[in-house]
Amino acid sequence: MAEEVKLFGALESPFSCRVVIALKMKGVQYEYIEEDLPHKSPLLLKYNPVHKKIPVLLHNGKPICESLVILEYIDETWKGTPIFPQDPSDRATARFWAQFLEQKCLPTLWKACCWKGEGQEKAKEEAYELMKMLDNELEGKRFFGGDTIGLVDIVGNFIGFWYGIVQEITGVELWTKEKFPRLCEWIDEFVKCTIVKENLPPREKLLAYFRTRLRGAAASK
């Protein structure tokens, strides 16, 4: 039975990249459709009417939305390299850290790097606390997933790659080897990891994208 897998994504999106990494880890053949985010396609809006966002995975015509939900779906549907741990307790821990990255780290890092004034200082303090928690969690481990990358590493891709670039542009430095040694080591390992390295967007493209976006943000904040 021929399987049809499509991914609606965007090159600059870490959320989209997570799904690419997961599909590649499982060796799934898929068709990639690049969305022009300021001009979303009718198909994307049809498949994700609730949030109208990428990524959307289409499996035999059925859409799955929200990157964390998609990652779990991919792990349950295709055998091969596991993304989630097997043990329920370890699985709960992995889901916890994935949610932590998504709901706490992501918005705080953005504010810490891109806002101005008092709000930024407060966000920076909060960001340091969050980075410390991640740094502690990495104790004795090469990756959040242990010896090989797993869910939390994949979800943390925005720290591993995107935020290095954002910090370069904004001149904000949230992590140093002195402050968060394990986190910095993880970042180095993460981007060196083959399955990640081969599927990250080109640096120059991300630099250009964020330069434009941050110019707009600076104007409003």
Binding site: I64, L68, E72
Partner: protein
């Protein structure tokens, strides 16, 4: 080997109610420890150092945090009866998607209902109705979000039912008038003992919020 299950919770937490319902559905014996969120206990801070929030499930000494994660954990460990998530991966993904939607939208608007007034309150009210209407659309004509059986999404939303009276009274509107099918669903869920024994009394919730508003000078 006897399982030791402890739940750190607060009586009016819609998220805590999710866990209570899940434990009841599975018939799991546990010790309930009410938490004073204004004066957090050393146990809570030790078991949830990252977020310092309820609910926290402690299973044989190991803490699990975040209600949706706890419910999935319960379903995976006590997998011999009353499945809470569908077995089909696609249906499971849909269930997770809607619980994520509830997580993203309901807590935030719920909090803003009692902390805002005037135009801001009107705006929050409109948002609540919008989210509930979307969920009602997703329910459709099914008895439960899970279809014929009560499941993950039902558990994800039902705790907020005990807060509806508070939203309606503060916002001066009727959720039943806006979303009759959703209220019918909620009443159907309340017929289940696992739900009726787990939810807080809506009037007590309202009195509690009235007290908070008075204390914060937000009347």
């Amino acid at each position: 080997m006897a399982d030791e299950v402890i739940l750190l919770d607060a009586w009016n937490s819609a998220f805590g109610m999710r866990v209570r319902v899940a434990l009841a559905e599975k018939g799991i014996k546990y010790e309930y420890k009410e938490q004073d969120l204004g004066n957090k206990s050393p146990l809570l801070l030790k078991m949830n150092p990252i977020h310092k929030k309820v609910p926290v499930l402690i299973h044989n000494g190991k803490p699990i945090c975040e209600s949706a994660i706890i419910v999935q954990y319960i379903d995976e460990v006590w997998n011999d009866k009353a499945p809470l998530l569908p077995s089909d991966p696609y249906e499971k993904a849909q269930a997770r998607f809607w619980v994520d939607y509830i997580d993203k939208k309901m807590y935030d608007v719920g909090r803003r209902v009692w902390s805002s007034k005037g135009e801001e309150l009107e705006a929050v009210k409109k948002e609540i109705i919008q989210h509930l209407k979307l969920l009602e659309g997703e329910l459709g004509d099914k008895p439960y979000f899970g279809g014929e059986t009560f499941g993950f999404v039902d558990i994800g939303l039902i705790g907020f039912y005990s807060w509806f009276y508070t939203y309606e009274t503060l916002g001066n509107f009727s959720i039943e008038a806006e979303c009759p099918k959703l209220i019918a669903w909620a009443k159907r869920c309340m017929e289940k003992e696992s739900v009726s024994k787990s939810l807080a009394d809506p009037h007590k919730v309202y009195e509690f919020i009235k007290g908070i508003k008075k204390m914060l000078g937000l009347e």
